[in-house]
């Protein structure tokens, strides 16, 4: 079975990603009326694009299993770093109103700093203090952006 082995794992995964999105959009678009070319409904263009994307995905997949494809493996993933970074953003969104900007920024800086291999508590705390003061000065007092500064309980 030499011919059917996945030689280019990176390209194969890319093609599969496109294909998955294409199927998702196509299936969802089936709920919307398609109409005809002269009078397109909301479902016409999405279906058209989904078919194009599916075709592209298939071509990439075929290219990845072809016997002449370059050998390429997937890169290693740093899921921990991703979790710290994406997680800190979600926490910022969730805590902005209950804790106010000062609290939410503190959590954002502390949590995201953990993503660095060179994390130190003192460094992160100093950084948080500096950034909170800077943001209050620039965004709240300088530019007057409507941001909740203190926890909602205090208001």
């Amino acid at each position: 079975m030499k011919g059917l082995a996945i030689r280019n794992h990176r390209a194969f995964a890319s093609g599969a990603l496109f294909l998955a999105f294409a199927v998702f959009f196509f299936v969802t678009a089936l709920q919307y009326p398609a109409g005809i070319a002269a009078k397109m409904g909301p479902g016409y263009f999405p279906r058209l694009l989904a078919i194009v994307l599916a075709a592209i995905g298939l071509v990439i997949i075929l290219g990845a299993i072809k016997s002449t494809a370059d050998r390429q493996t997937l890169r290693t993933w740093d899921l921990k770093g991703l979790a710290w970074i994406a997680g800190s953003v979600i926490l910022f969104g969730a805590l902005l109103f209950p804790l106010g900007l000062v609290g939410a920024l503190f959590v954002l800086v502390m949590v995201s700093s953990r993503a660095s291999p060179e994390f130190t508590w003192t460094g992160a705390l100093t950084n948080a203090a500096v950034l909170i003061v800077l943001c209050l000065a620039v965004f709240v007092y300088g530019l007057g952006l409507p941001l909740p500064v203190w926890p909602s309980l205090l208001n």
Binding site: S14, A37, M40, P46, W77, V109, P146
Partner: protein, 499 residues
């Protein structure tokens, strides 16, 4: 003369003290952020966007343009001093610029970049002013099928020019267009792909998407690679090029400027394409091609002039046709929409002071950058010594506040977090993100124009090929595809012959 009259209107706006101040702040902040490694113009603009929310539209646009040039310029400094391109258009500057720096000529390289950029900026401003009128007039001749063809050309060129295989670039464009369908269908008023989430009825916002992918996901990537920066530590003393340097850099600047001005106007073009093309040209024309890669001053002068000219003339399609030619321009559309300005042929006629004010302030911005950068270069270099572990939380903070301020809502913050994960997947699969964003921005207009064209032709698709203007635009797109396929076909044939 119309041109001078228009420039006079522009000067009246741009030279107002407050606008001068905003242009200055824009350039200063843009350079400040752009000089940091890993932060290109896109991330810089996205990060600094909230600062402009409170401003008047003309002041906001002037400041954004300043930020753009500043970031562009900051990228060159990083390229020369630390061998790290701040953004893709500075990639070629690292080749000879860093070599010059290692030979103790960092000052000369930086001065060359500054002078070249300024000269190119002056020429490009004039080109922009001269071309704006005629192009806007052309835009008025465009119907739905021509706009459709033009945007298809832009997207094809953008994917041809993106890194990696062409087909993957096209896939990203189509995916971006599909994502752009989220929201309310303008024709029927029905909700598509919104799944009952009210915040999605207006579609996916460009800014959280750009920040998630180019801000947050980029940080995760940077944290993985722990290579230390190879800073050139010698003090930068001599800024002045010698007579011989001048003799070599001036022709390169002239050619770079011409090339950049032309390529910037091209849909899909802009600073990146311009700088690469200029480097190739200089190497071809040089009598000493062997010096390239070893500190040839032409290799800095040409590309730096070209990328600045291209950066500036890429405003032309945006301002006259309403079609952003690259991702940075797409972000500009987002920024303009926030201020309720919808770029296109109408801006020039409806809002001449804004239009010409913006153009003239681009020149003013270039002048400011020259003044800002040459004496302050030591300061910018010092910024590069801030460790990344202090830097990236700061980026997180500015991006998060920026995303929140778009609508004063946390939904956009979560959106950015989702696109951080998605952006990381893209990085790992080596899929280019720029075509995705262009597809996202152009998607709605492409669908609208396609639908209109089909209504007018009663569903006859051949109308796209029988109208001369749309046919030639589509033909250009087809040629671009063929050109990119040719080397592949040739390589494949050689492969087949070998077996």
């Amino acid at each position: 003369m119309d041109l001078f009259h228009n420039l006079a209107i522009g000067f009246a706006t741009a030279a107002q003290p407050t606008n001068l101040l905003y242009a200055f702040f824009g350039c200063l902040l843009g350079t400040l952020i752009g000089v940091l490694p890993g932060l290109g113009p896109l991330a810089t603009i996205a990060m600094l966007l909230p600062i402009t929310y409170a401003l008047q539209p003309d002041a906001a646009l002037i400041m954004l343009a300043g930020i753009y040039y500043g970031a562009q310029y900051g990228g060159s400094t990083t390229a020369i001093v630390v061998n790290l391109p701040g953004e893709s258009s500075s990639v070629v500057t690292t080749i000879d610029g860093y070599q010059m720096a290692k030979q103790g000529r960092a000052g000369v390289a930086l001065a060359t970049a500054a002078i070249g950029s300024f000269f190119a900026g002056c020429v490009a401003t004039l080109a922009l002013a001269a071309l704006a009128g005629p192009l806007t007039a052309t835009a008025l001749l465009f119907g739905p099928k021509e706009f459709f063809a033009l945007m298809i050309l832009g997207l094809i060129l953008a994917s041809v020019l993106s890194s990696g295989p062409f087909i993957e670039g096209i896939g990203m464009v189509v995916l971006g267009m599909l994502l752009s369908l989220v929201g309310t269908d303008l024709n029927s008023g029905s909700q598509r792909f919104a799944f009952g989430i009210p915040q999605l009825f207006d579609g996916l916002d460009f800014v959280p998407l750009a920040m998630g992918i180019f801000g947050f996901a980029e940080i995760v990537k940077n944290l993985e690679q722990d290579d230390k920066l190879s800073l050139v530590t010698q003090k930068i003393t001599n800024l002045f090029p010698t007579r011989d340097d001048f003799r070599r850099m001036v022709p390169a600047m002239l050619r770079g400027t011409a090339l950049g001005t032309l390529l910037g106007v091209l849909p899909g073009g802009g600073a990146v394409l311009s700088s690469f093309a200029s480097y190739t040209l200089e190497k071809k024309l040089s009598r000493h091609p062997e010096q390239f890669g070893k500190g040839a001053i032409e290799g800095v002068a040409g590309p730096e002039s070209a990328n600045n000219a291209g950066a500036q003339t890429s405003f032309i399609p945006l301002l006259t046709l309403g079609v952003p030619s690259n991702v940075v321009m797409a972000l500009m559309v987002g920024a303009m929409n926030i201020h309720n300005i919808h770029p296109g042929p109408e801006v020039m006629t409806k809002n001449p002071t804004l239009f010409w004010g913006l153009i003239v302030s681009m020149w003013v911005g270039n002048l400011m950058l020259l003044i800002l950068n040459l004496p302050l270069v030591g300061l910018w270099v010092k910024l590069l010594t801030i460790p990344y572990r202090y830097l990236f939380p700061a980026i997180m903070v500015f991006c998060s506040i920026g995303v929140y301020s778009i609508n004063s809502g946390t939904f956009e913050v979560y959106e950015a977090a989702v696109f951080c994960v998605f952006g990381y997947v893209l990085i790992k699969l080596q899929l280019p993100a720029a075509p995705l964003l262009l597809g996202l921005v152009l998607g709605p207009a492409i669908e609208e124009n396609f639908r209109r064209a089909m209504v007018l032709s009663r569903g006859d698709v051949t109308v796209l090929l029988t109208s001369p203007l749309s046919a030639s635009l589509l033909a250009a797109a087809a040629i671009a595809i063929l050109l990119i396929m040719l080397p592949t076909i040739r390589a494949r044939r050689e492969e087949a012959l070998q077996e």
